[in-house]
């Protein structure tokens, strides 16, 4: 009987390529729509459609990336850590594409208008800030950088929490009236961040109660 492929092999040969292809699928479909291929179309307002689709896909990948840790801990899928970097990089990829669509297609490289938007329109200010936060995370996503930064790597990468908050806020703020979908994103993000607050709070309480009982029995 042939030996089962190792976890390492399964990820390298199967899971990673499949997730990569699935993550690229939105971009492929949008590109097909841009050229009216594969029965895809971006409709009467293609720039707005492309802009909004890229932005929302970036938010989707931010949320999926933030789902990795709870899924590992709650469902015991510890190997999922091997996919997290790729998912995070796709969040950056779609956020950057979202910005480039805005810069090149929507604003047609009118840098004056773009600068005015970024400085004067708060929802664009926070969206741009979220993108700026994702950039260093992408740059420091390599194994070498992880080693070099050590403890500080984890600290730096907590920026994703702030970037996700700003990203969802950016979405909520630009909607004209129907905020149901932005609120859904805010709710999902609240659950994902709330999970982390809860686990950290519990861990601290366990720690303090244990150390408390060992060193100073009378104190809580």
């Amino acid at each position: 009987m042939p030996p089962w492929p190792s976890v390492e092999q399964r990820y390298r040969l199967l899971y990673k390529p499949v997730v990569f292809a699935a993550s690229l699928a939105p971009a492929v479909l949008l590109a097909a729509g841009a050229f009216n291929l594969l029965g895809q179309s971006l409709g009467p307002d293609p720039v707005a459609r492309l802009l909004h689709a890229c932005g929302k896909t970036a938010l989707n990948f931010l949320l999926i990336t933030l789902l990795v840790t709870p899924a590992r801990q709650l469902a015991g899928l510890t190997h999922l850590i091997r996919l997290r970097r790729m998912l995070g990089l796709f969040a950056l990829f779609y956020a950057a594409t979202h910005f480039l669509v805005y810069l090149i297609l929507d604003q047609q490289l009118d840098l004056h208008a773009v600068l005015e938007d970024i400085t004067k329109r708060p929802y664009i200010t926070i969206g741009f800030t979220a993108l700026l936060m994702l950039v260093p995370l992408g740059i420091t996503s390599t194994q070498g950088m992880m080693r070099r930064l050590g403890r500080r790597w984890a600290q730096l990468h907590r920026l994703i929490y702030l970037a996700a908050i700003l990203g969802v806020w950016h979405y909520y703020w630009q909607v004209k009236r129907d905020v149901r979908e932005p609120l859904l994103y805010a709710g999902m993000l609240a659950v994902l961040l709330g999970y982390r607050i809860l686990t950290r709070w519990r861990a601290r309480r366990r720690l303090t109660s244990r150390s408390g009982s060992a060193t100073a029995p009378g104190r809580i």
């Binding site: 009467p44 297609l105 929507d106 604003q107 047609q108 208008a113 938007d117 708060p122 009236r177 129907d178």
Partner: protein, 317 residues
């Protein structure tokens, strides 16, 4: 009636024969497009060919000499929250609206008031086609060949009194016909208003048709308002009541977000929306690089700027 010399140079005007041949070409393209589309894709909306053709004359003097936006964009990209908040929702959902028969109530400060069958009101009312610019507050624009008549012509028939300073319009409220009204995204029914001089302006239209045929449901059938120098949300759709008032009526978007949408809502590139610039606009149907500068009063400044002389358009946005 006021005429507008100088807006379109005679040389700019497309000769009627050429215009009509283009129109025929477009109609052919539309018919072809409809035939080529899968039946289920358009099952929810009557294709253009099923909508009754109207008798009208082209009012060239009040029309812009621009290429009209494709029919499928004007009927497939709509803000009509009564049928959903996505731009494609109205086309998909508006088949539940029953625009015939239709009652129109005239109320308020006028000598003649009452509820009428729309057919009776339209009887003997000559229709004209006017190709107008259309500018949405969301910074996109179209060029639309409307078929309708001057609102003022209708209003005068009901002899408004001297107390009539404003006109208020109300959309149908019937969640069975307009499923979007089940959600309190906006306070229903949709209401809009104009100052009397704006309502009586010869550019202000009541519209019953589009591209020479009866108005499709998703564009506001059977009767909608068009005020070409104002943002599109002033163009209230599926009107059931017109009321003359002494005091300025509230309008739905102003009620919903008073700091973002005013009563006047005149197209003004120099007064940005609080969240986005109004200096430029995306031309729908214009492809990838279709951004163009927005014109003061949407290009109708020479006709309407006088209405707002002395007003602070930043305050009364």
């Amino acid at each position: 009636m006021m005429r507008m010399p100088g807006r379109i140079a005679p040389s700019e005007i497309t000769p009627r024969e050429l215009f009509m041949s283009r129109r025929a070409l477009l109609a052919g393209a539309l018919a072809g497009g409809a035939a080529a589309t899968l039946p289920e894709a358009r099952a929810d909306t009557a294709p253009a060919a099923q909508l009754e053709p109207l008798h009208y004359t082209l009012n060239r003097q009040d029309s812009v000499s621009l290429q009209p936006t494709p029919y499928e964009d004007i009927t497939g990209y709509n803000n009509f929250y009564e049928f959903g908040t996505d731009k494609s929702d109205p086309q998909a959902n508006a088949s539940t609206l029953r625009p015939r028969p239709w009652s129109l109530t005239i109320a308020g400060e006028a000598e003649i008031t009452g509820t009428y069958d729309l057919q009776d009101i339209l009887k003997g009312q000559p229709l004209e086609e006017r190709i107008y610019r259309f500018r949405c507050v969301e910074a996109w624009s179209m060029v639309i060949p409307w078929v309708g008549f001057e609102l003022g012509a209708l209003l005068r028939r009901f002899k408004p009194t001297s107390r009539a300073k404003y006109v208020e319009f109300t959309t149908l409220y019937d969640p069975a016909q307009m499923p979007g009204e089940r959600y309190s995204i906006l306070p229903w029914p949709y209401v809009e208003g104009l100052r009397m001089d704006e309502a009586m302006h010869p550019l202000t239209l009541l519209v019953v048709g589009l591209y020479g045929r009866v108005l499709p449901n998703q564009d506001g059938a059977p009767l909608r308002l068009i005020v070409p120098w104002k943002y599109g949300f002033k163009g209230i759709k599926s009107i059931v009541q017109i009321r003359f008032t002494e005091r300025q009526p509230r309008n739905t978007w102003n009620i919903a977000a008073p700091d973002e949408y005013g009563f006047y809502a005149n197209v003004n590139p120099s007064v940005p929306h609080p969240r986005w610039s109004q200096a430029t606009e995306r031309v729908i149907g214009g492809g990838w690089f279709a951004r163009q500068p927005t014109l003061m009063f949407n290009g109708y400044a020479s006709e309407v700027a006088d209405l707002y002389r002395g007003m602070d358009l930043r305050r009364d946005f």
